[in-house]
Symmetry: D2
Subunit: 332 residues, 4 copies
Amino acid sequence: MLPITEPNPPFRITRASHVSLFVTDLAASRDFYRDVIGLVVTEETDDTVYFRGLEEAAHHSLTLRRTDGAPFADRVGFRVETDEDIDRAEHWFRANDVRHRRVDVAHQGPTIQFTDGVGTHMEITSSMEVVERKMQRFDEFRAGAPQRLDHFQVVTHDVQAATDWWSQLGMRMSEYTAKDGTEELWGSWMEVKGNTHDLVFTNGRGPRLHHFAYTVPDAVKLIDAADVAGALGFGEEIDRGPGRHGISNALFLYLRDPDQHRIELFTTHYQFMDLETPPIRWDVSDPRRAQLWGMPASARWFFEASPFPEEPVNEPLLSATPGTLEDYLQIH
Amino acid sequence: MLPITEPNPPFRITRASHVSLFVTDLAASRDFYRDVIGLVVTEETDDTVYFRGLEEAAHHSLTLRRTDGAPFADRVGFRVETDEDIDRAEHWFRANDVRHRRVDVAHQGPTIQFTDGVGTHMEITSSMEVVERKMQRFDEFRAGAPQRLDHFQVVTHDVQAATDWWSQLGMRMSEYTAKDGTEELWGSWMEVKGNTHDLVFTNGRGPRLHHFAYTVPDAVKLIDAADVAGALGFGEEIDRGPGRHGISNALFLYLRDPDQHRIELFTTHYQFMDLETPPIRWDVSDPRRAQLWGMPASARWFFEASPFPEEPVNEPLLSATPGTLEDYLQIH
Amino acid sequence: MLPITEPNPPFRITRASHVSLFVTDLAASRDFYRDVIGLVVTEETDDTVYFRGLEEAAHHSLTLRRTDGAPFADRVGFRVETDEDIDRAEHWFRANDVRHRRVDVAHQGPTIQFTDGVGTHMEITSSMEVVERKMQRFDEFRAGAPQRLDHFQVVTHDVQAATDWWSQLGMRMSEYTAKDGTEELWGSWMEVKGNTHDLVFTNGRGPRLHHFAYTVPDAVKLIDAADVAGALGFGEEIDRGPGRHGISNALFLYLRDPDQHRIELFTTHYQFMDLETPPIRWDVSDPRRAQLWGMPASARWFFEASPFPEEPVNEPLLSATPGTLEDYLQIH
Amino acid sequence: MLPITEPNPPFRITRASHVSLFVTDLAASRDFYRDVIGLVVTEETDDTVYFRGLEEAAHHSLTLRRTDGAPFADRVGFRVETDEDIDRAEHWFRANDVRHRRVDVAHQGPTIQFTDGVGTHMEITSSMEVVERKMQRFDEFRAGAPQRLDHFQVVTHDVQAATDWWSQLGMRMSEYTAKDGTEELWGSWMEVKGNTHDLVFTNGRGPRLHHFAYTVPDAVKLIDAADVAGALGFGEEIDRGPGRHGISNALFLYLRDPDQHRIELFTTHYQFMDLETPPIRWDVSDPRRAQLWGMPASARWFFEASPFPEEPVNEPLLSATPGTLEDYLQIH
């Protein structure tokens, strides 16, 4: 069932903003994101490395934290417009029994951590320390030259519940995948910032973080990233692409980091702002949904994702499954 | 003097949306925008041609109207969020003595035409007829494969007044050029949609439309557009570029249509959303403001623009002038 | 065993030049090569369509011939320098018991058809009708904008014999694949025109034509070709890529035509001219040989190819086999 | 008058190969070619730096030598096929009164330096020390990622004499510029390696080296080079481009080094091999000869070049002059 976006949400979310991950070998992961992906290291401490995209003026969009345990995802972060939005969010979380807490996070303004309607570990902040935009330091561009964090994809056991939860906070659906012949949601692409998505939920064992995505300047930089990955020994860690999604029109490349967290580099989303434009529907059985050309993604891409610490993973409510590369090769 | 953006504007503008031009030879201009630029013809009548970018679901972002007179610019158009915003705008225009009128425009929802604080002919609408997004009809891509209208640049005699006028409507300055050692504005880059600009005002004889701009997928498509322009006999109508602006970081190409209206194709603006980020300042004497490499623009690019019908053109209040190519070649 | 290139060959071959194919539906195949690949139709008759790349001044580099039978490959063609080279070739073929015949081929100068040492159906000519180079008709570029035919790959049962045969005609090996720990050739990349290859032999059931290849201007055009293939319903006919070969450094995309003949589009081979430079060796078990990043090619890519009419197909002498995508997915 | 290429030249030249320059500040010039252009430093001594392109297996294609005097060009180098070709060249130079001498050059095989028919300081060698091809070290690619040296352009007072001189050595004209309505040569594009040119002569005060050129992988790398030049403070040292030449179809970018020697980065020359294809003629007054779109080159580009030590510079015999940017701006 398609959601109704709340036109006057209780607080104003502006964009997907930052993500933090637990990693087992901080130096190895730093090298990966700096050299293979091309992110800028803003700051490094004994147990944390902060990265940003080349054009970003915010202190960090990716934070790696050293762990002695398993390499969980930590938190997915959004921006709200003002400090007052943080207050309003706190009020609303309290009124609606949302698990949450005010926290101090280095280099961030007022921040609340919370768990959304399907168990995803989230965070909102209203500001960050301002640093230099590096977008014109072309001499420092490396690999894919990622410019900015754009969106997250989360696997959830209940896409409908996730979609409804975020719709009440002003997120708007741009595209969706439904079980053939029904309006049962298999995947939901939702946005606040005016292009195709800030936050995606797809059906599966969740909550788990499927990937976070940075935008790159063009198709050549995507190839450059793949070539650099190959040259640095990460050629097998490209677990999908380059290819073109039907949904969102992204030209994409997915890579796995040393702990198997997944990052997407992509280019060419489209603008999605005008209210008269309906979301685009795709049948889950339509392979063009996932790629306009080439072969389907492997089971590795579909079924592997990063769980959140101490958050139980639930079996999906919906049984629809897209075809994998393994399926495809047995048929053809 | 830097403006203060109104956080709760009287009506909500969402984006630069559409432009209309008077042209003297409708067939010649249609061919130019379709074949040299690569826009999609949505609809054609005896005296009007409607175009859109490849990803646009709105009926038109460029309208050409046949004229027997001079090839004026007609109107620059923005979107507001809802029909209620049109009502609120009407109320505000009336209350503030803004020249305006409700009009019926084919393929548009409720629409108001008005004249802004420095005489620019403007229009707002809250919806358009929805048409097919062509962004995945890659077989129909031509020349620069322009995806969507992004922004306008207007020459005005009073950049400060223009900036102040639009700030009260919620536009926010991302970058600006000031006379060296002062805060006297020579140019003002203002946005509502979350990237560097929707509307630019620069100092000069105005109001005149300097250019409107479409975004293209990558640098190669910019070169493709130049190559196609050359192949079709419009090679001399590239009046600037390819080059890289310091302001906004755009990789740009400017072309003149058969009536000498100017269109920009560009790629790679950056995101501009977080409120803690200040605007970037450039001295008018700093050539990197205008291009990070290569030579300055010619007088043709700086001083030619399209006036609006029956709107008097005023001499600029500020005497600061950037260096032209002609100046540059005499020095070097 | 590595071959010794004859420094003074009996006749002077200059380059891979043209290929002809039998197709079952001439109109469908014409549309494919014109619209999905972007080749120029030089001429069309009832039973033949001639194509060339955009920069080619020669009448054809691809000829499609209608057949009522099976869609065989027809012939693989090379250029020799002068008419005298054709005479010298005829003399040498006769002296060396090579199956051959002088033929009249429309739009070609003196031409000899022959069968090489491993049964490949070949043809040489010393000239073609000169037509317009279209490389500056950028307005006519479509899809991958293929510029010129570059090379052929032939599957053979005896790579060593094929390599030796062509070495005596002046072909020089730039790279090769050998069974691990031996000099038994699994694949042989040979050139006459000064870049990595004009003619490739790989181990398998042969002789069969694996693919012919056109060079495209850049990586973006490769993506454009894939996107256009997807838009026109040929998205599943990309049977490999985009990817980067270790051998030859090509960035590649492979497509199957309506009869399952295979065409490669690629960019960035390197120059190979200086005699002091040895060929590059790759172990057949080294996956980087085939792709520097991403997953291996499927069995479909490895084992499907176009036989030649009435030419028996032999089982390979060498039992070395590279890993397929199917193998890979079972292991991982 | 068009030359007749000698089909059996006295020795076999294979390609444009290397260039050496005298520079006044070795460290500054090294930084320029390494960081702004992206060449690989093969070796560095107190007074010499050797560079190569990323794909080159030869020890050097560019040599910088420290000078306390003026920053002259030193020598322009070609490859011949074998050591015997060096002997044959020596014999022919002697027989034809060509100023020449055998020399020992570090990292090169047998080498002869000589002065061609119009006073250009030249060198041929038959081999170089073999080093690693870096074309798959994508992680080390910088700026334009230049792959290999491709050609030279020399200004000469007598283009006809230069053309005739090199034609007897097997060079073949692919394109030429002639004074309108005559066959008086203003410029001559000549090749041996099978694409449009290895050596160009244009009319002017000479002999002087106008530029040497490296090929880059695609248009995006050309833009990358310009962006890096801008970021590193060399934005004004782009003295032409990006643009598209009519002649040769190159997409080009020209930069000046710290001593004002000029380097071209370019992509997409076409193949030129078949003997039946005539050279392309351009009138010197046709601006499309020089650029298919955009404005003409400035006087700086046309008239500045690097003389050779102690070699007198002669006034041109032909008075035809192409239009400069300065001319263009006065007219338009």
